[in-house]
């Protein structure tokens, strides 16, 4: 089931800023790892429970793969939740390759892809067992964009 989005699950940055952050590394063309996040819908944030399959620790964008049961209109299955940046910057924000482990029960907050497939833009995760939350913010030490 869809959990009601929490207030603090709303984007911390403007869509333009997020789009900028997405371009962290490189490129944007069909089938390229680096791309804009315009396919994700920030007006329909979702929050649901799932189980971590893997945290894919790759550039230019890390990907959280989460297995979930039926969520609203979505059939049960695997979700791809794309983070807006790379391991280099995530490390500077306190993340690591093992921040989320296979089998971890989690609550994820995402912006779903507009076309209805089980994919989305990662915004926040809460590890059920510990209550720990992880988000993607500004790079510590680097000042935020104007």
């Amino acid at each position: 089931m869809i959990l009601k989005p929490q207030r603090n699950a709303m984007p911390r940055f403007s869509p333009r800023l997020i789009a900028a952050a997405l371009l962290l590394a490189g490129p944007a063309v069909q089938l390229s790892a680096h791309h804009s996040f315009a396919m994700f819908d920030p007006s329909k944030p979702m929050r649901f429970e799932g189980t971590v399959k893997t945290l894919q620790w790759t550039a230019p964008h890390a990907i959280l793969w989460v297995q979930a049961g039926k969520v609203g209109q979505y059939e049960a299955g695997l979700w791809s939740l794309e983070l807006p940046t790379s391991p280099g910057n995530l490390s500077k924000m306190g993340w690591s390759r093992t921040s989320l482990k296979p089998g971890d029960k989690v609550i994820v907050e995402i912006n779903p892809i507009r076309d209805g497939r089980r994919a989305g833009q990662f915004k926040k995760v809460t590890i059920v067992a510990t209550g720990q939350t992880l988000t993607v913010g500004a790079i510590p030490g680097a000042q935020p964009p104007k």
Partner: protein, 277 residues
């Protein structure tokens, strides 16, 4: 014994005709003095995180002085930027080149100062690798065009002054994070990389692009130094995110392509087909 064998050989070599063409220039081996001299240069060590991003919308005082012909293209690009769907600076993981690799990067950089050369390494494979020759050489008369161009530099007190030519005409001049227009040829970039405090650095750029700009465009970016190991640069391959780790039928670890939507977002394998309503 050895000398007696060598002498006739050396004599023969010395008597051979002088080659008709000049010898290829070489990069001479650095001496102990060359290495020692680096200690007196500005200390650019550490990892440098980029500071505030600027944007250069048309009509703003920070905008490149575009020629009138660029106006309609710029309006369309600005719409892409405003819609959060910019597409044209970063293409297929190709390097963004100068000036974007300085003015638009969101990743840290480091400077390696060695005799006769400064190497700038960014956090993305070849996307942000630059070699700046400080050995006194001139630009080649006709350099092969590249994303980051051919750079020569010299030290002026606390600054490394760099001159770069030889850009691919496709290299963008940015008007925002994700959009810009190609320089269309003959771009020349002047650059001053200077320490502005114990852990602060500024890069001032002057971009000359006579095919698309009415005059020089001046743009700057600031960086903050970090020595915490958490900030160490890591390997980042721009294409690795196109694949997930897999094991093939023979038990070999392999990369398998991740299905993508039309815009490049990763999809679960069972969602690769037509989107459901």
């Amino acid at each position: 014994m050895k000398i007696s064998i060598l002498l006739p050989l050396l004599a023969g070599w010395a008597l051979s005709p002088v080659p008709a063409v000049a010898a290829e220039p070489v990069n001479r081996a650095p001496t102990a003095q060359d290495w020692a001299a680096i200690a007196s240069l500005p200390d650019l060590s550490g990892v440098w995180s980029p500071g505030p991003l600027d944007r250069f919308p048309p009509g703003s005082k920070t905008a490149p002085p575009w020629k009138p012909d660029q106006a309609t293209q710029i309006a369309a690009l600005q719409r892409q930027e405003d819609e959060g769907n910019p597409k044209n600076i970063y293409v297929n993981c190709l390097p963004e080149g100068l000036p974007s690799s300085v003015s638009q990067t969101l990743n840290s950089v480091e400077f390696l100062v060695t005799p006769g050369r400064v190497t700038i390494l960014g956090e993305f494979d070849g996307n942000r690798l630059r070699r700046i020759w400080t050995d006194g050489r001139a630009h080649p008369a006709d350099p092969d065009p590249t994303f980051s161009g051919h750079s020569i530099g010299h030290w002026e007190k606390d600054a490394l002054v760099v001159d770069t030519i030889g850009f691919l005409p496709q290299v963008f001049i940015p008007m925002g994070q994700g959009v810009g227009l190609p320089n269309n040829g003959d771009m020349h970039v002047e650059e001053r990389i200077s320490l502005t405090g114990p852990d602060s650095l500024r890069i001032d750029l002057i971009v000359h692009a006579p095919k698309v700009l009415t005059g020089p465009w001046r743009v700057s970016r600031t960086f903050t130094r970090h020595r915490e190991r958490q900030y160490d640069l890591v390997e980042s391959s721009c294409r690795q995110g196109d694949y997930f780790d897999d094991v093939d039928a023979r038990g070999n670890a392999v990369f398998t392509s991740i299905p993508k939507d039309a815009g490049g977002a990763p999809l679960p394998p069972d969602q690769a087909g037509t989107p459901s309503p």
